[in-house]
């Protein structure tokens, strides 16, 4: 079976890096020392992905405080307010607030993407999907939600253009909101059109990755989105919630649980993936953790990455 395997979000932060951030905040260490610690761990996270044989390699997003922050920092017209819960996790993000017309000012390639450690053409970059970031922002400026949504889409499209120049192989749009909440027909249409603005600007493989909710909230419409791959959270989905539909494009099965420390049994995952591939008639399968590994301790995130490598290899050997 042809398989592609990769991570799907921010990697867990190692203790040494956390300490470095705290020390920097207190003025105990310089920006340069912090950068050295950061880069050391970026190399380690990239290294474990290469050693595990993953198809695309992410830099681990170790300096992203949350999925939105680097985007917010590079946009005029946005501020961040207090903390808000990140879906149903014991994890909080700083809520973006649109206080003016959104204007692209700085690319994430300036300080938030470490492509130098990844071979050209193997880099994976992750961005929020426009509907997710818009839905989780507060709108104090635009007359309509739709206006803010498409402003975000424009901003994200600019980022996509910038990362494509780095030799990116896959761009992931993280769309947890789409799985956590069942969108209405109008919302689906808006969300799809917003993604189209991004699609227009890149030829890289585009993955719409949904998580924190069942595939049944997503599959009925997401296959029609202008993307190459659709990702679903199999840690919260029955296989039938995927295979009951006519699958018209490659799926990314989020089968490793990024929210629990228990290590999965690779044989059981192979069986699950094979069953879904067979029932859905898929010849190409993408496999991944269901979500970011940031909600795990660093050592466990490393072990889950190696496990993903084992799954990739085992599935590759399946006829």
């Amino acid at each position: 079976m042809e398989v592609r395997a990769y991570l799907t979000g921010q990697f867990a932060k190692p203790e040494q890096l956390i300490k470095a951030y705290r020390d920097r905040a207190k003025g105990k260490i310089s920006e340069q020392t912090l950068d050295e610690v950061l880069r050391k761990h970026v190399r380690e996270v990239v290294g474990v992905q290469y050693a595990s044989g993953l198809t695309y390699v992410s830099d681990g997003m170790l300096n992203w405080h949350d999925l939105f922050r680097p985007i917010v920092e590079g946009v005029g017209g946005l501020e961040v307010n207090g903390l808000a819960r990140w879906f149903d996790n014991n994890f909080f993000y700083k809520k973006p607030i649109a206080v003016g017309e959104l204007q692209f000012r700085r690319s994430i390639t300036e300080g938030y993407v470490f492509n130098e450690y990844v071979k050209h053409g193997e880099l994976k970059v992750i961005l929020p999907d426009p509907f997710t970031i818009a839905s989780m922002s507060e709108n104090q400026y635009y007359k309509r939600f739709e206006d803010m949504l498409f402003s975000y889409a424009e901003i994200l499209a600019e980022h996509v253009v910038n990362v494509e120049e780095l030799g990116v192989a896959q761009i992931q749009l993280s769309a947890p909101y789409m799985a956590f909440t069942r969108l209405s027909g109008d919302e689906v249409e808006m969300a799809s059109e917003a993604v189209r603005e991004i699609r227009k600007r890149t030829r890289a493989e585009l993955l719409l990755h949904t998580f924190y909710g069942p595939a049944s909230n997503v599959i009925p419409y997401a296959l029609d989105f202008p993307v190459d791959v659709v990702g679903v959270d199999m840690t919260l989905s029955k296989p039938r919630e995927v295979t009951d539909y006519s699958i018209t494009k490659p799926l990314c099965l989020g089968v490793l649980d990024g929210r629990n420390s228990m290590l999965e049994d690779v044989r059981a995952l192979v069986k699950l993936c094979k069953r879904i591939a067979d029932d859905a008639g898929l010849r190409l399968l993408h496999v991944a953790p269901n979500c970011e590994l940031e909600l795990l301790p660093y050592e466990i995130a490393l072990r889950k990455t190696r496990l993903l490598g084992e799954l990739n290899k085992a599935l590759g050997e399946v006829e």
Partner: protein, 372 residues
């Protein structure tokens, strides 16, 4: 708490200001607060601070606890504790007293804030009671009613990894159901095997008011029933006044299950979403409109809306506290259902600010009583 708008502490204060390596500052703060709060024998603390290594860490904690007790009493609160002066956090400490858990490492909560997260690997059992010594100290020294806070079963489970129940249940064809059933069993076993016996020990030691802190209660909309069942199991057959504190969440998600909660008081946060303008009109009190859900749903328990915002140094004037209480009474349709307290603990505020806020709380409640 029979008077109208009784006042109640909720959560922790920051550490007593004399807990510092700066010796001069420690002595100055111990003196200032000792005089201000009329802490008995404060001069002997100054003497000890002046003498190198004459205080053990335990003795220093005792002093901090005593100052915390007098802080809340001096501000005039009816129900007090010690500002949780011996506690650093609310998860790791209790987990250390429970068999069946293993720490897995640190995980992020936001930015550079992390906590050490454990996994349940076997049925949880109380190894030995916790919070008992600190409670006995507070009880011995307090001159007002004492309410002890303890982290609830649902939050302990929600903040842990599950490497035991999911494995045991594990029907892979329906992972959502498997996870929910596993969580249900995990939470109830914590309630029965850990929280209830611990509360039993606290009651035997004289605890009359017990607050279960459940910040995770409304994190998962489809698990409100599990939270409520776990609370009721935690206190089953026990005789005390039970309070539950749930802050900064969507309270609507807890209904209708919350109606089955066997708590006397539900403490919630309101002021952080409110305006600072005086008045009892709906437009002036947006943070308290959430109380209408409690009334519409027919909640029988008392509600302790936070009338003081703990995330700002703004000192609420007593008149603002009064109007928030009067508005709460109006929305709930029953004056006797309203208990006055803060949104949450004041641990992010300096003692100076926290004290002024607590004075405003008690003065505002007195004004509200007068108005009624």
């Amino acid at each position: 708490m029979e008077k109208l708008f009784p006042t109640m502490e909720v959560g922790s204060l920051s550490k007593a200001p004399f807990i510092t390596r700066d010796k001069k500052r420690a002595i100055r703060e111990a003196k200032e607060w000792g005089e201000r709060l009329q802490v008995e024998n404060w001069a002997s603390l100054i003497e000890a601070l002046n003498t190198e290594n004459s205080l053990t860490p335990k003795e220093l904690q005792d002093w901090a606890s005593l100052y915390g007790i007098r802080f809340l009493e001096s501000a005039g609160l009816d129900v007090i504790y010690d500002g949780e002066q011996r506690r650093k956090e609310m998860y790791e400490y209790p987990v250390n007293f429970i068999e069946g858990f293993e720490f897995r490492g640190i995980v992020k909560v936001w930015d550079s804030e992390f906590y050490r997260k454990a996994a349940v690997i076997a049925r949880p059992r109380l190894r030995e009671p916790y919070h008992l010594d600190e409670f006995l100290f507070v009880k011995k020294h307090a001159r007002r009613a004492v309410k002890i806070p303890i982290t609830g079963a649902y939050t302990l489970a929600d903040w842990s990894f599950d490497e035991y129940y999911v494995r045991n249940i594990g029907y892979s064809n329906d992972p959502r159901r498997a996870k929910r059933d596993a969580k249900h069993e995990f939470v109830l076993e914590l309630a029965r095997g850990v929280i209830r016996p611990n509360i039993q020990k606290l009651i035997e030691a004289g605890a009359e008011y017990i607050q279960l802190d459940e910040p995770a209660a409304a994190a998962k909309p489809d698990e409100a029933d599990i939270f409520v069942e776990s609370f009721n199991e935690s206190i089953k057959g026990l005789d005390a006044v039970f309070v539950v504190h749930i802050c900064y969440t969507n309270y609507a998600w807890l209904f209708p299950h919350l109606l089955d909660l066997r708590a006397e008081i539900v403490s919630i946060s309101c002021s952080n979403a409110d305006t600072r303008e005086l008045g009892v009109a709906d437009t002036k009190r947006p943070g308290f409109r959430v109380l209408s859900i409690f009334r519409e749903q027919g909640a029988e328990f008392k509600v302790a809306p936070g009338v003081v915002d703990v995330h700002t140094d703004f000192i609420e004037p007593p008149e603002l506290v009064r109007d928030r209480l009067l508005y709460s009474a109006k929305v709930l349709g029953d004056d006797e259902k309203v208990v006055a307290c803060n949104d949450c603990g004041l641990r992010t505020r300096r003692w100076e600010v926290a004290y002024e806020k607590q004075l405003s709380l008690t003065r505002g409640a007195a004004l509200a009583r007068k108005t009624m």
